[in-house]
Symmetry: C2
Subunit: 335 residues, 2 copies
């Protein structure tokens, strides 16, 4: 890298472009491209469903409750708050750039975003509704039926169409144009010397072996604690829960580092709140490297260059319930 | 009214305008005017705080949780869900057009929106934070400090400035341009014959005696159950809790009827889910009138003409916490 840059500076603009083009092909982290919206009405419908608390039994929890688009697509809690204030088992991953992951959930048990979207709705610890109830609620609202008719050709709402619309909205939630991506695309001034030094450390000690691709993660499953075991009271087994293989115990999907500045606290148990701590722990446990303070500061400075343009959009106005809409049950069936 | 309209039709446009101008002066419900924004940066800051769950102890509940701007500025629950899933004591009133109320809360215990805004933050049943903690949290975030410095001339955030910014944002949450307001301003076609019939019933039986002004309510305190007592298990005492006067027992601020189509369930205990029921109960208990089905349908049709343009805005992106930000305590102090 250093050599390429030196050549670029030495030989002027033409060659410099060459060096920049090389970044795109040689660097293992790739830029995030803006979303291409081909079905705007489906996206709008999905956005409404994303924000609709009526998909939960309580009428209080929406997708956005735990994947808050005002706060990096996460809830900034160690583990989430679910129905009846139940404590969730694992840290809510950010929804931002989740379309770039090889699979969904920490253990990859959902193949794609649509499959994932059905999970929390029916999970008794999360939204605590059921697919039948969610469909009944949406079907009872004429404006939703109209929109589904327009988008899916039928006013009879199905759970597959609900989760498809949510997934299509989620696909738009990418964060292009981070300073790091500007640098990847050739703008030398987009990141500082310290940030570049941090990136070089990030590469040289091996972080990039797992945190790669456009999301700087999400491309593979890896054991948490390769060199040294990770101490946690969190009982999550990781990928073994999906594959049944003992070899997959404590193996998790590598989280994205995109917008990591916004998605504290860190790791599947949400046990670490600062990027300094998280960097130190990862270097030691995964790579057997004890970084000094300066190195950690540099890596953290680099990590903050991965914050991209956050999705901005108009908050949706939801169509009102009707007299026939099943009522929320925030405090049990007694009401 | 009918006479005026007849004259207007009979005598042509000039006279018709006269009749319309009369509506503005003679009708007791007045149109809602769009918000005039004189301090856009303060509004933007207030909007961020409105959506910021870090004003709650759990880091999960924001102003928008119970006054959801996607759902009529309310949570559509009988009573709200607070910290640790505690059941709130009273129905969350809509924030929409709340600046037009004579006072805030059902019992009017806050003189204005700023005073109101400080309540839920520190209420152990609601956001369960404290003013000291809320200030510490916001003060720990450099981007917030910068915005406060710009708007209030000092980067040292105070609870008064936090609640002032929230209140100034809330003042923008008005809903002009309802079909009823279009009719008030002279567009005869803006409401149907049935809706007009409903409005005439609404006036002739006396609803408008309390539901008047631009918010069609919020101008006075009235006893719930004037002719017949209101049966409820809700222990709220009403205005007596503020004045200490026995005469004020079960006296509440008259709720706005603006956007009432969106703000179900109804009354201070949120016990009624449909406008038909609510209309029937009000007519009987407050006015001693038993409306027939047609009359109720007409009044409900009229009430739905009070739905105005909902505030639309870009969802704010919140500045991230820092290593120094007090951490949320969603599940008690143990973490």
């Amino acid at each position: 890298m250093k050599k390429l840059l030196t050549i670029a500076i030495a030989t002027g603009f033409g060659f410099s472009m060459q060096a920049h083009a090389d970044r795109l092909s040689t660097e293992l982290i790739k830029p995030i491209e803006p979303a291409t919206i081909t079905e705007p009405e489906k996206v709008e419908l999905g956005k409404k469903l994303w924000f609709d608390p009526r998909l939960s039994m309580s009428g209080f929890i929406s997708c956005n409750s735990c994947h808050n688009l005002s706060t990096g697509g996460s809830d900034n809690l160690p583990t989430s708050i679910g129905h009846n204030w139940q404590q969730g088992p694992i840290n809510s991953p950010t929804v931002l750039n989740s379309s770039l992951s090889v699979a969904q959930f920490w253990d990859g048990r959902a193949a794609n975003l649509q499959e994932q979207a059905g999970g929390p709705i029916a999970n008794p610890m999360e939204m605590a509704s059921s697919h039948v109830l969610a469909v009944d609620v949406i079907n009872s609202i004429p404006q939703y039926r109209e929109e589904f008719a327009k988008v899916y050709g039928s006013a009879d709402v199905t759970i597959d169409n609900i989760t498809d619309a949510i997934a299509v909205f989620e696909e738009t939630l990418v964060t292009p144009n981070s300073r790091f991506d500007q640098w990847l695309k050739g703008d030398d001034k987009a990141i500082t010397e310290q940030e570049l030094a941090g990136y070089n450390t990030f590469k040289s000690i091996g972080c990039v072996a797992c945190h790669n691709g456009p999301a700087a993660g999400g491309t593979s499953f890896q054991r948490m604690g390769v060199v040294e075991p990770y101490q946690t009271s969190n009982p999550a087994e990781g990928r073994a829960a999906v594959t049944g293989k003992d070899a997959d115990r404590f193996t998790f999907k590598v989280p994205t580092l995109r917008n990591v500045e916004l998605t504290y606290p860190y790791f599947h148990d949400g046990a670490y709140w600062t990027l300094e701590e998280a960097t130190d722990v990862m270097a030691r446990l995964q790579l057997g490297r004890k970084l000094d303070e300066q190195e950690i500061d540099n890596v953290v400075a680099f990590l903050k260059t991965l914050t991209g343009d956050q999705p901005t959009f108009t908050m949706p106005i939801l169509p009102p319930s009707t007299n026939d809409t099943p009522r929320p049950q925030p405090f049990g069936i007694k009401q």
